[in-house]
Symmetry: C2
Subunit: 163 residues, 2 copies
Amino acid sequence: MLIGELAEAVGLPSQTIRFYERKGLMPAPARGGNGYRSYDDSAVTCVKFIRTAQAAGLTLVQIRSIVDLRDQGARPCTHVTELIEGKLVEVRRRMGELAALEKELEQLRERSQRLDPADCTDTDICHILAARNYKRRTPTNGRMPAPRTTQATDKHPGGPEDD
Amino acid sequence: MLIGELAEAVGLPSQTIRFYERKGLMPAPARGGNGYRSYDDSAVTCVKFIRTAQAAGLTLVQIRSIVDLRDQGARPCTHVTELIEGKLVEVRRRMGELAALEKELEQLRERSQRLDPADCTDTDICHILAARNYKRRTPTNGRMPAPRTTQATDKHPGGPEDD
DNA sequence: CTAAACCCTGATCCGCGCTACAAGGTCAAG
DNA sequence: CTTGACCTTGTAGCGCGGATCAGGGTTTAG
């Protein structure tokens, strides 16, 4: 089976198969006399495994950790279960963040209906989003300001932020 | 007001201010005789606006579209409202995706409790994630893979490009 | 013989929002 | 004068999952 045939069998571009191979997600396949990759049926299973794991929200690095365990002869079940549970926690956290953002957007939408565009001054840029109650908060991105050697920034004017 | 003072006033690193300027989010400030940036109070408002808009989930490109309208002398209210409503739709869509992923993860977790690790064969990589009901679907990543219905060809016969 | 459709490797690019580094100029304190 | 904190510019890197290109080789059909 050539790479294009495998690609067609799983519905992905050939280059993605090569990409997975480079990333260590797929074993290096046999090669024909012309240097072409030659796959057997297990390659289809392998790609499908990768896509299923991706559909479960796992990153390629995490998926690689699974296949690496397999390659070492271990049964990755315990590790997979941990990954799944961790992902579940992550998904729920994100849903919470998005729910909060949804509320804020609903308030902004309501506010935009309440406010008169004629009152929107240049100094505000736009009064719908005007920063009257400015809170320094990450936009659902979960990003730390990072400990800097130069202190320059360690005063925040808003409230105390707790993530 | 020097850039470090502005940075401290809004609780961001100076570099971020310069970054916003490069991205066209902030107007180029006046310069002192030594070439130092010199800000007035409106710069504080401007940065706070940016952060508020970010907190509403807007991207920097979208925020720039707002300030560009302002620079052209227009009132961006209508555009802002559209952005907010679009973001609301997006957030809800993502929440739906995450809810579906949550269900799937719960099923996988349950399945992992049901299955005996001893049955996990090499051919499956791991039977918890074994791709029996393989569906080609984006891993709820919020990333649209571009409507490529072309299957698996390396070269694809140039489609219509926009942008 | 030529063109098209495959295949190969390696490198570079994308969006996102910064962050960090390099290599210098400026300014106030000691 | 020296030190150190500030300022300037430009450039490169991060993580993610590929996409795209450059520059070739191989195979098949006409």
